[in-house]
Symmetry: C2
Subunit: 328 residues, 2 copies
DNA sequence: CTGTTAGCGCTTTCAG
DNA sequence: CTGAAAGCGCTAACAG
């Protein structure tokens, strides 16, 4: 930067100001500085800039289950949007454990990210979120909603799940099982609530024996389905509350030789990019992963820009994708 | 840090040295410093440390097609390994374009990553790699190999692909089509070469009309398959050289109503985490994605530690997964 | 074995 | 409209 200043015959102060547009500078001076930058091939040093107290032009993404296809798509969308805005992405896995999440978040903050995107674990409020708010770090919540005053982006869960139930009920199913996700996640509660609403709407009783907990993961969902189907009076249809659990469900069904949808109907939350190649092709609620990622980044950048703007809470509409697993 | 120094009754120099183990310090002093750190809740500032010329404890990962399941798994493995070693991961997409890749790499270097992992695009040698070598930034190549003197990690491609051909040939197929990947990637060339070797080994002629180019992507592969099957004397079996193209192949086959494996056999490079739920279940060569990611990080950290160690080139063995799409 | 001190490259008062 | 200069928090000669 000193080189540029010398080459342009100005002070580094001026170079800094033309670079950041942080105060009025004479047009001709601006031109000279730009020329000097060009000539010297100067590139600002992000680290020094950060140390001096300015922005780092970087954002953190703290998320769980990096290899889950849903989050994968979100990550890709976030990367695209951040880099389109000249920001760099720092990625970390929270493993949905409050302590790891806190450490991850602290690490990211210590690295001076300008703000961060967080898929809060159950327990985040007392840990990561408290830390972020006391340090007043811009944050936007992803996927899961929390009753806190911060920006949040996610999908509508309740009504779409109720629709799934109605869809199955309209095809004559009276006992519809539900594989619920990890306890403490708003998505879990909302989808569960949607399940109950759907049942009521169709005049069906809510039988707790039809609800199994799959911890949002493949394996637990698999065993949960076995339990569900071994009970007396098993369900004739199943709803899985997220994509990992859908896989578990499919494996369990195959293990007991149940054919979908002939022996048992299936509908699920979350689409797979290539689920039309599955057998059977899955009837699902597809989340707008690209929009979620892009919108989250947009909200974050806006908040970084103006820390005092009122918090926004964005609920995106998912899409009902009708295929064959429901047995229509 | 000044606080810690004061609280321990030493200079910041000493604090720095006990923190980094960069010179001998009296045991008692060390203890006092640690106590002071504890008491003050001190956390080193990564940014300042970086500016002063030391390590940032961060590594960059520049990769293409973030949402490709193969790379996704690699990303997850890399994240796990880096964070297990106390490093932070900066993630960027190169889009397999030399210019974007160069920019991404420069950005990462400007952020002072200690080193970086790169899945080199066709053209990386003249751009990103040249830049990295002139700036002597530690780098390890991922997935694709290049005839350069740097650490590299990837999978054995030639022999496994030849095996795929043999497998199909042994089941009587005499016209085996091949959907090749993006031109200029070593993986593309090696798998193509493996295809040719496999044919020769089984006494089959190499018919260029049976080779289609799918650019390593879904859509191009789809149209390539249509061309291949519309030609006179079409193949009775197909090999797709990576997972995205396999998807394209399956879509194309469905569009023309060809059943796998009854009407046409299929085998592919790359497994899907849940490909046993596909219909048909795919016979594939599965890459050890976790090992690839972990090994790459290990090599990188070793190189950062000792920039002069001889470059290692690690070829991992993939696994042949026999399922139904081959028609056995 | 420990401390003094000069930066790392930038931002930002404060002064002109 | 422009500059001088004081840091940001740490590392690493150099000196003792």
């Amino acid at each position: 930067m000193a080189d540029v200043a010398r080459a342009a015959g100005v002070s580094t102060t001026t170079v800094s100001h033309v670079l950041n547009g942080t105060r009025r500078v004479n047009e001709k001076t601006v031109a000279r500085v730009h020329a000097a930058i060009e000539r010297t091939g100067y590139r600002p040093n992000t680290i020094a800039r950060a140390l001096a107290g300015a922005r780092t032009q970087s954002v953190g993404l703290a998320i769980s289950g990096i290899s889950n296809p849903y989050f994968m798509d979100v990550i890709a969308a976030v990367e695209a949007e951040t880099s389109a805005n000249g920001h760099t992405l720092l990625l970390g896995d929270t493993h949905d454990e409050p302590q790891k999440e806190l450490q991850m978040v602290q690490e990211l903050v210590r690295r001076r990210v300008d703000g961060l995107l967080l898929a809060p674990s159950p327990g985040a409020e007392a840990n990561a979120l408290r830390y972020l708010s006391t340090h007043s770090v811009p944050v936007v919540l992803l996927d899961r909603f929390l009753p806190v005053e911060v920006d949040q982006v996610g999908t509508e869960n309740e009504e779409p799940t109720a629709q799934l139930v109605s869809h199955l009920a309209e095809h004559g199913h009276r006992r519809i099982g539900f594989i619920a996700g990890l306890n403490g996640l708003s998505t879990t509660e909302e989808r569960l609530s949607g399940y109950r609403i759907g049942l009521q709407r169709n005049g069906l009783p809510v039988d707790e024996a039809l609800i199994a907990y799959g911890a949002s993961q493949h394996e637990p969902a698999r065993t949960a389905v076995h339990r569900l189907l071994n009970a007396e009076n098993p369900p004739s249809a199943l709803i899985a509350a997220n994509n990992s659990m859908t896989i578990g469900v499919l494996h369990a069904l195959r293990e007991i030789g149940a054919r979908v949808p002939r022996d048992i109907a299936l509908a699920a939350f979350d689409d797979f990019e290539w689920s039309d190649l599955f057998h059977p092709r899955l009837t699902v609620i597809a989340q707008p992963t690209n929009k979620i990622g892009a919108e989250a980044v947009r909200l974050l950048l806006a908040r970084i820009d103006d820390p005092n703007r009122p918090p926004h809470c964005v609920r995106l509409e998912p899409r009902f994708v009708h295929r064959e697993s429901c047995g229509c």
